[in-house]
């Protein structure tokens, strides 16, 4: 694993109206690192991913992705807020899988996966379809290419969601509680897909999760968030077996019991 940081937050602040979510927030992720983010509800976990996916702006500080500023661009020797064109370019590095799948209901599974590669990346239909077939194979849904999302189970939908994100070949994959909307018996089929991806170590992954065993198993690093700060971070063994901070202990206790 290279030590080059692919994501860097520097003194980032983020507010919603009067509520401050992040204040002077610093955080970095190395290339191909798999980082799990855990923490109580409202601590800013989703906001962190949404800022990276450019779904939310920031109010202060800088974020670098792949060595380039995400929300700013150089102009006349200084930095100005990013243009749509700059954001469009930066999004190329990033992919996201959503808690509620957000599949396109009017398109078949295959078109859900091929639409963006064709329209955004300019792949030919045959290339895009070949990729979609491979990805559907990967997530175990080769036989569902012509189904519509509403005819799939939750677990199947989410596996399509993963395939759809992967089809854009992001180098950073953002996963926001991708199993929390699923019935318990469907969680494993989705986590298995992520386990396999994690083994290959081809992407940087940032995953917000409430599945502690899973976080422990796949991550290189676990960050415990509370009130917009990283209270404690470290190797999964350390965080889960010997947390140092009281708040981490309390949170994990509440979870594991």
């Amino acid at each position: 694993m290279s030590s080059h940081p692919i994501i860097e937050f520097k003194n980032v602040s983020k507010r919603f109206g009067d509520t401050s979510i992040f204040n002077d927030f610093n955080f970095s992720v190395k290339e191909n690192e798999i980082v799990s983010i855990i923490g109580p509800s409202g601590s800013g976990k989703s906001t962190l991913l949404r800022i990276l996916m450019t779904l939310e702006g920031i109010d202060g500080g800088y974020i670098n992705v792949n060595g380039e500023s995400l929300w700013h661009m150089p102009w006349n020797g200084s930095y100005v807020p990013a243009s749509n064109k700059h954001l469009h370019k930066m999004r190329d590095h990033l992919g996201m899988v959503f808690q509620h799948f957000n599949l396109f209901p009017h398109m078949t599974v295959k078109r859900n996966i091929t639409e963006a590669p064709m329209r955004v990346k300019g792949l030919s239909r045959s290339e895009a379809e070949k990729n979609a077939e491979d990805l559907l194979e990967l997530v175990g849904l080769a036989d569902k290419a012509d189904s519509y999302p509403n005819d799939l189970s939750g677990g199947q939908k989410q596996r399509v969601g993963i395939a759809r994100a992967l089809a854009m070949r992001p180098s950073i994959l953002l996963l926001d509680e991708i199993t929390s909307a699923l019935d318990p018996e469907l969680v494993d089929e989705v986590l298995d897909v992520i386990r396999n991806l994690a083994k290959e170590q081809r992407f940087t992954m940032l995953l917000v999760t409430h599945e502690m065993y899973f976080a422990r198993e796949v991550s290189d690093r676990v960050c415990f968030f509370d009130q917009g700060r990283i209270v404690e971070e470290g190797a999964p063994e350390d965080i889960f077996t010997s947390p140092k901070e009281e708040r981490t202990k309390a949170f994990l206790n509440a979870y594991l019991n």
């Binding site: 209901p105 519509y148 994100a165």
Partner: protein, 219 residues
């Protein structure tokens, strides 16, 4: 006057009414989309322009709008024939109500659909065309159907700027023959039939469109 004769005269009027509807409806739909999208996504000054259009045409009387276009604009050197004036006035008026239909249907597409299109790096216009509008369209059809019927009813206003539509024919027949019962009975029936035919078209359209949205439909 014989009943058959009355019916045949009124049918001529009905044809004119249908013609006006057929021309004003596409205009209204175009206005609804253009100004509805401007209202939703336009920056300054497009959004403000849309608001002015919408509030003006919804907030003033359709008859006065018609009079303006037909009687007042010529004073400024812009004269148009009665038929065109009628189509424009009705199209703009119903279109202003249509903007709310477009806006409402687009706003009711779940936010997650916009977010997924950003995450997949679609441009705003791609996401509107390929992701949002196909889902919003189905929801627009029933309220558009209602507006189409409003339009049919509003066409009777054009009789006041000398267009020989159904209402115009009915009134002149009534003045001439005094057989008001038969005449207005037939007129009611004809308006009702026109409206029902339109309603039927819109129901068919709705069915067709929701078919394209996958077997499960949009949830």
């Amino acid at each position: 006057m014989e009943f058959g004769e009355i019916v045949s005269v009124l049918l001529q009027g009905a044809v004119v009414t249908i013609k006006i509807v057929a021309m004003a409806l596409p205009l209204a739909a175009a206005m609804a989309f253009i100004f509805g999208l401007m209202r939703l996504y336009g920056g300054f000054p497009l959004k403000q322009l849309a608001v002015v259009y919408i509030e003006f045409f919804r907030g003033t009387s359709a008859l006065i709008q018609l009079y303006w276009i037909y009687f007042v604009l010529p004073l400024f050197g812009l004269s148009i024939d009665a038929m065109t004036a009628g189509v424009i006035a009705l199209g703009l008026n119903i279109g202003a109500y249509g903007t709310e239909v477009v806006r409402g249907a687009i706003s009711s597409v779940p936010k997650g659909q916009f977010e997924a299109s950003v995450a997949l790096n679609f441009t705003p216009s791609q996401s509107l065309r390929r992701i949002i509008l196909p889902q919003a369209l189905v929801g627009m059809i029933p309220p558009f159907g209602n507006l189409a019927i409003e339009l049919v009813k509003a066409t009777s206003l054009v009789s006041l700027i000398t267009i020989a539509d159904l209402t115009f024919k009915a009134k002149s027949l009534a003045d001439m023959t005094l057989q008001v019962g038969e005449i207005f009975g037939v007129v009611l029936l004809l308006y009702f039939v026109i409206a029902q035919c339109l309603a039927l078209c819109f129901r068919y359209l709705e069915k067709r469109l929701s078919k394209g949205l996958g077997r499960g439909g949009v949830k």
